[in-house]
Amino acid sequence: MDAADAEVDAVASQTLGLGIGWRPEIDLTVARLPDLDWVEVVSENICPGQLPPALEQLRARGLPVLPHAVSLSLGGAEPLDTSRVEALAAVAAALDAPLASDHVCFVRAGGLDSGHLLPVPRTRAALAVLTANVTVAQSITGVPFALENIAALIEWPGAEMSEAHFLAELTDRTGCQLIIDLANLYANARNLGTDPERFLDDIPLERIAYVHVAGGVERGGAYHDTHTHPVPAGVLDLLTALRERHEPPGVLLERDGDYPPDAEITAELASIRARL
């Protein structure tokens, strides 16, 4: 193992613990949570020069605050919008964050904006685009970078490899880490018939920076990863399945709306911790 590998391993194994997605609507809830190790924030909602006081207080308590972007469109084949990457870099610097992240997806193309994270083809061509964009993004942000797997309702034709192999290749070529979203994995199993256990077998587990869990609902013939429902047992079971293979450095509960009482959030975090 050479020095570069040692550095990657050291960064990849930074222990984060149990965290929650910080949202302004639950700033008081989060401040009061008894057993919280870190938080993640949507970077596009953060102004670097004007951090919310609640986030400053968490940082003052020693909790890491990690920025997570949704709009870089790193899988987009048009020229990368580097201003969005610079915005993420500024937020990461303001938070003194150990890691920044976005998703394996594209958002915009042909002058249109989907407002969503859409899948890219699992092809060598798409991998080349992602590799190039992630390499640029990493050099701009200047901190370790992680990519998250998304939930997809549609699939591109002509797949050349599985999602796990696609992610493995990406980490190999760029040195990036992974955020494994178990709720997205669960959604894809329901909607696309993919095999989540096989996925967990084939991804480079040592590249996992942390894991997401979230709730969703079956509606209109599909499972929707809403982030506004309790985490289903099936998602927690995937956390157990991962834990049998590897201890992830961090796990994060994502909730984006329809916030339940504090006691329910506390209980949900406890049920996640019980699976670790």
């Binding site: 084949a77 859409l118 002509g158």
Partner: protein, 129 residues
């Protein structure tokens, strides 16, 4: 092997299918595409609803959903468009079609309209004398 330019074209075509009503490209599952189209439109509509709850209140839920679907397909969101602008454009589109009683006027615009009317009257009277 497909290069970057070909992938860019394919991604642009997929977005025209998902957002602007163009036909499903070959190789995609049409049923799943239809679900995705609805999901994307619902997401966009929820944001508009959050920003302009008065519009859904004025139209009623069913009409709001129906009309938003029409608007959303005719005016797919462009790269760089802000959500607040999207909500305003929808409201203006509804007004132009007679679906909303009057365009939303912020209170200060209503005041300048009153003052404007007062000033016009004053001008008319002073010009007479």
């Amino acid at each position: 092997m497909t290069g970057r330019a070909e992938l860019a074209a394919a991604q642009a075509q997929l977005l025209r299918t998902l957002l602007a009503g163009e036909p499903v490209p070959p190789g995609f599952d049409a049923e799943k595409v239809a679900i995705e189209i609805r999901a994307l439109r619902n997401k966009r509509r929820h944001v508009v609803d959050y920003l302009r709850p008065d519009v859904r209140a004025a139209l009623g839920n069913e009409r709001f959903i129906q009309l938003f679907a029409e608007y959303a397909t005719a005016f797919p969101r462009r790269d760089g468009a802000r959500a607040r602008a999207d909500a305003s454009y929808f409201a203006n589109w509804l007004h132009a079609r007679g679906e909303l009683p009057e365009p939303h006027r912020p209170w200060w615009r209503r005041l300048t309209r009153i003052f404007g009317a007062g000033l016009a009257e004053l001008r008319r009277r002073t010009q007479r004398g």
